[in-house]
Symmetry: C2
Subunit: 490 residues, 2 copies
């Protein structure tokens, strides 16, 4: 249970604030296995709603779920040169099973390209067998030295999509389609604005032709890579002999894509929307959208107000104005032996978007006293028409949270007119998303990273680019080849 001690504030220590919030809102807990976390029901409930929303979008675009083995023969990883270099150092290795040493060690999947394309090769003979559009919800393990709850853990939950196509262009369309889904999910469900764009060679997925990502700005002005979509080209198809007979009867290698988002998104939600009182969950992802707290001073009032609260709950959940499959999610907190103030504190900490207080005077007025979690604004709302009023208010909260996050990001973005010295100072200080030119040389990227810990988050898509293209490289001052967004990142 939450105690009444104040959270460390974001201004005091953003990192301490984050950890305290995650623990005290009971989103997650440390486990006895170093680097692995326990996702508690409050956190898992948010993840379940994320899963449902994404799964619906994947299925609406023709993808099907499947499940592939946790263990991958070590030799598989070695078949794609860049891939093994990127992932082998991070692997957990099973050397013994059933009391015996294994002939070939098995790695616990850090990602599943190798075993999945091996299977795709088995299932593909002709162009008629393509495209294959598959997703899996799974756990993966990457041996991380410095872990943080949700953001970087030894084991995490994710979805990984894997597809195979007849042509490069079809794979590219798929890669982009998924990036658009990720963006829509971030904006419309998480109320988290994101940039979309291309990763540079040094930041792309190990084994990919091109990696695209969505990048969000956290409240400490650092970037969070929140999802990636990879055009894998024919790299894995060649490594795993994923071939098909084309319409003319020739054998050709397929073109693959892979893409994923993970429980890291829960951390991103916290760092985008949390405040010094705790979490603020965007309504569409909130397991509980409205908590009703009946207020009483004696036994008679307790019975009467609790009954009234349950009646309000019934009215709210019976309402189908948002569609029969999307009922209002309402909880009545009638716990005994706990002050109302302590209840408010706890639900604020946990981020429930709307609180309805219901005391004797409210009941007399046939109204609830509503408090928004995001702005903390309060108003009396009549029982009459309450479901529609509440739903409209939740929509407004969802939208306001997005707009607030967008305004914050834009206020902390710098476009052009910044010297490298100023950039260094900014990265040491408040942080920002800096839109600036890049000469295209990996050496400049490396130098900036070395000197400022900032990286190129992406080469942003056209709609995010500055109206006037930068002319010189942020680092070396030579002519710019492309506009890049530079920032420190999680």
């Amino acid at each position: 249970m939450a105690d009444d001690k104040k959270l460390t504030t974001r201004a005091e220590d953003f990192s301490a604030w984050y950890n305290e919030l995650v623990l005290r809102a009971e989103l997650a807990d440390y486990s006895p296995v170093k680097g692995s976390m326990v996702i508690r029901p409050n956190g898992y409930g948010i993840w379940e709603r994320m899963q449902r929303a994404l799964d619906d979008m994947f299925k609406a675009t023709g993808h099907q779920n499947a499940y592939f083995p946790l263990f991958i023969p070590e030799s598989f990883l070695h078949k794609e040169a860049e891939h093994v270099e990127g992932f082998a150092p991070e692997c957990a290795v099973v050397t013994h099973g059933g009391g015996k040493k294994l002939e070939e060690p098995l790695v616990v999947r850090p990602t599943s390209e190798t075993i999945i394309y091996y299977m795709f090769a088995k299932w593909t003979q002709s162009y008629r067998d393509l495209p294959i559009l598959i997703n899996q919800w799974a756990n993966v393990v990457r041996w991380e030295m410095r872990t943080r709850l949700f953001l970087r853990t030894l084991e995490f939950l994710w979805q990984e999509g894997h597809t195979a196509h007849v042509t490069h262009d079809e794979a590219e369309v798929e890669t982009r389609k998924i990036l658009a889904i990720y963006r829509r999910f971030a904006e419309e469900w998480m109320a988290m604005p994101v940039l979309t764009g291309l990763k540079t060679h040094s930041e792309k997925f190990a084994g990919a032709l091109r990696t695209y990502s969505i990048e969000a700005m956290m409240q400490d002005n650092k970037a969070l890579q929140a999802g990636t979509s990879h055009n894998l080209g024919q790299n894995f198809a060649k490594a795993f002999e994923l071939q098909f007979q084309d319409e003319s009867g020739q054998m050709a290698h397929a073109w693959n894509t892979s893409w994923g988002v993970s429980t890291r998104l829960v951390g991103g939600l916290v760092m985008t929307h949390g405040d010094d009182n705790g979490l603020r969950v965007p309504p569409r992802l909130a397991p509980i959208e409205i908590v009703i707290v009946p207020i009483w001073k004696n036994e008679e009032e307790k019975a009467r107000l609790t009954a009234a609260a349950l009646k309000v709950q019934d009215d709210l959940t019976a309402w189908t104005g948002r569609g029969a499959t999307d009922r209002l999610r309402v909880h009545v907190d009638a716990r005994d032996g706990m002050r109302s103030g302590a209840k408010y504190y706890e639900w604020e900490l946990r981020g429930v978007p709307l609180r309805f207080e219901l005391g004797p005077k409210d009941l007399e007025k046939q109204a609830v006293f509503a408090a928004r979690r995001d702005t903390r604004e309060k108003q009396s709302l009549a029982f009459d028409g309450l479901p529609a009023t509440a739903a409209a208010l939740l929509d407004r909260i969802q939208n306001d949270m997005f707009q607030a996050a967008l305004a914050r990001r834009e206020a902390n973005s710098v476009r052009g007119g910044i010297s490298y010295a100023q950039f260094k100072e900014l990265m040491e200080g408040a942080g920002a998303f800096v839109y600036a030119g890049w000469c295209g040389e990996a050496s400049c990227e490396a130098k900036v990273k070395e000197e400022t810990k900032a990286t190129i988050r992406c080469l942003p898509d056209a709609e995010f680019c500055s109206s006037e293209a930068p002319t010189t490289c942020l680092c070396c001052g030579k002519p710019s080849q492309v506009e890049a967004v530079w920032a420190r990142a999680y």
Copy 2:
């Protein structure tokens, strides 16, 4: 894709029939990791529907989902004596991570009692913190030597529920409540009748006080243990110091339960309902309930009949007579270059409960020609009122499949009046569920297992017991203490 070769029949070789069906209906495939399978979209779609139904039932009874680590410190397993004896020999062990040898090896969870009750202990101070009612959907690994697709695999997917209570009786009520949920799921969703009852000491879960199970009869008259619910007593609470302060201020150990069903259920569904033409999926679990096959001879007909089929699909899926959240699940198979007969064959193999054929003459009559997968009965159904007609027919199929499976089980059950010699012969031959007495001695259980490969599946609950209780032990002939159901099992 399915080829046109006939399946081995059940009568010829039940085991070969099963494997062929699972592979050719594309429910699952072998993977390059010995003992691990790939669950393909057709199989995973059934599992997803199983998950949704069970998850709804768990939540309706107050359980919440959470997620605990895949890896468990090896020392944890050793804290409960029976538990380590049961599971240690089956464990996969991670000895290396991030390129280094680990100080303490980690086992890949074979089940999660140990790590979960360690966490429960961290979260529990007072009786007010109880009950804890948690479930997780996860993968687990048990090093099996002889594996079979879905039935026994090195890795499998399951749910494991874990709860903590103040009293023994409350834990017992929970154990029973879940057993009832499993039974209801088996009967109402899988159309698979089950016995409920208690496991004997030698068959109970390693570390439990009592294990209850649901037991189903497959078409080869062998039993499948389809789900288990354990009253763990205080065994794990004592091992992990899961204590609470009770109302009187005394410290006491909590009482735990755990319970699980797995992807094994998909295998049970196949062996309960499959026939020599392939799978038969009970409508409530079918990802596709109705497939519509438009039939054409020329381009004009193709356009016209395909459009008509899509119109019928629209009418069916728009219908809300079964509730807005439970629309009819309909697929139109308008694939070009494939004979209608080949399509029928494929959908029969995959077990879709209803097929609607739609040719020019059907369209003229404003009707579809419907074929039931379970009985292969055919009839013309008018467009007018089709959604309600189809839904009613699907209900009938669901019910008929349950009744057929129940009748088959009862026809292959033997109650009383069987000598041990006859029993041995029966077990060597056709197999059966044999209701007979048991003296209560483990030595008789062991002897029967040794000589016949049959085990006590359960000590059945009262409603399944014979009207006249058996008087002597099946094996030794001494007085019977209890009625038992004996059978060979998967």
